[in-house]
Symmetry: C2
């Protein structure tokens, strides 16, 4: 790969996953379960094919002399020569959307120089529904399709996105915040929720059930570099979260600190 | 327009609205309020530009000798020579999504031979987020990008879409159904909710607040022609609804009668 940078590598992976998905949905294979992934979710044909597309690029990079450790939703941990560079992938975030034909799901990729969320140096998210690419570079800003983005400076909870893995549990938990929002959306993809927050489309994001770091690590950096904030649902920073396969923290994101405090107050009732 | 059919005309309108939106979002005009539309919603620059794109095609058709009455969200009622042919448009369904940069919103178009929902002969919906086109011909089936679609034959409430104009009112009203669903989504566009139901992506749709016929008329025909069913939230058919600007009925859609009955039972508590 000429002009190597992890951003270029991630864009190449995003492009290949998009092509795989396009190809897959021409046939009938999507949605068929393949067994359990390393993180416990049911692995679908589409998740496996997306991960394989990413692995192909990583193998090319390794063959060209790059060393790193790869952590992914489906295969778990795989060493490529070993180094301090950690690559995390959620091959398809929003698998249920992809599987049922709802055209908004994404691939989320992260490069970190250590094992904590605060070590994330690069985050990349591609929306396979429309091809939009989002990325953030630690200390270097956040971008959508190459244009610098900033989170909203609105100070009312106009548009709030939430996730609900188990509606009868998560909707009840989210209700105190949703009731004070002017508009709510539930899209089924945490990575895109955070990308939309970073790009100023929404004002807050709530994921009441514990999330895994590869679900939110790229989005966390995006929001942060765009001027917003992501904490757990008690307002605690996530910086010391371990990058790995475990479900760790529920998430609350806001486009600015004023809105984070409004959202925390609403959740406390 | 060569090879005239209303379907071809609707596809041309969809294409032109998509082009307008692409152009608009290059600049900064989107989201600026233009005043109130005929139906009472705040008219945004984007709604006005979408309607104007549709009007351009209608004016070309009228100049070529076609006569019809046009009813649209923004301008209200406009006569083009007068005839029994009624054309209804929701230029942008999901204006808030478009306005805030959430890439799923649509244009919904209908041709009817009389003033009731049961007179709808053709329904067309385009998803401007990804370009997918859905249409249905009364007695002639439902299609997505030219391929015949069928609503799901699943008999559990796996994926339920709901709308929530006013969260503190509509979420509470929807909760009894949402609690028994395995997955829920809230997308902010009734037309696409119905298109996704028709194409087998989802199992049920709930819109607790009264909807206007141009929000649901195209989707209603799509769902019906795909094998599903749309009623009000008491299970009453909508066939005798008047095509016009008024908010009339809350909506409950399901991919089959078994699921409609399950959803009605859940809503009754």
């Amino acid at each position: 790969m000429e002009n190597f940078s992890w951003l270029n590598a991630f864009k190449e992976m995003g492009k290949r996953v998009s092509a795989e998905m396009k190809e897959l949905f021409r046939g009938t294979g999507a949605g068929r379960a393949l067994g359990k992934g390393a993180s416990g979710d049911t692995t679908l044909v589409l998740d496996k094919r997306a991960e394989d597309a990413i692995l192909t690029v990583l193998e090319e990079l390794h063959a060209a002399g790059h060393t790193f450790t790869f952590i992914s939703e489906e295969l778990g941990i795989k060493e490529f020569g070993g180094s301090d560079v950690l690559i995390l992938a959620d091959p398809i975030d929003g698998s249920n959307n992809a599987r049922f034909g709802l055209p908004f799901y994404s691939t989320s990729l992260v490069m970190a120089t250590g094992g904590k969320l605060s070590d994330v140096a690069l985050g990349y998210i591609i929306n396979h529904g429309c091809g939009d690419e989002f990325w953030a570079i630690k200390g270097g800003g956040a971008y959508k399709n190459g244009i610098k983005i900033k989170s909203s400076d609105r100070v009312d909870l106009g548009m709030v996105n939430f996730e609900s893995s188990v509606p009868k549990r998560d909707l009840v938990a989210a209700m105190p915040l949703l009731k004070v929002a002017r508009k709510v959306r539930c899209l089924g993809t945490t990575a895109l929720d955070l990308a939309f927050l970073a790009s100023g489309s929404t004002d807050a994001v709530l994921v009441p059930s514990p999330s895994r770091s590869f679900d939110y690590a790229a989005g966390w950096l995006l929001v942060r570099e765009a001027g917003g904030v992501v904490t757990d649902t008690d307002g605690n920073p996530l910086d010391d979260s371990t990058l790995g396969l475990e479900r760790t923290r529920p998430l609350l994101g806001a486009s600015n600190v004023t809105l984070l405090n409004k959202a925390l107050k609403a959740l406390r009732g």
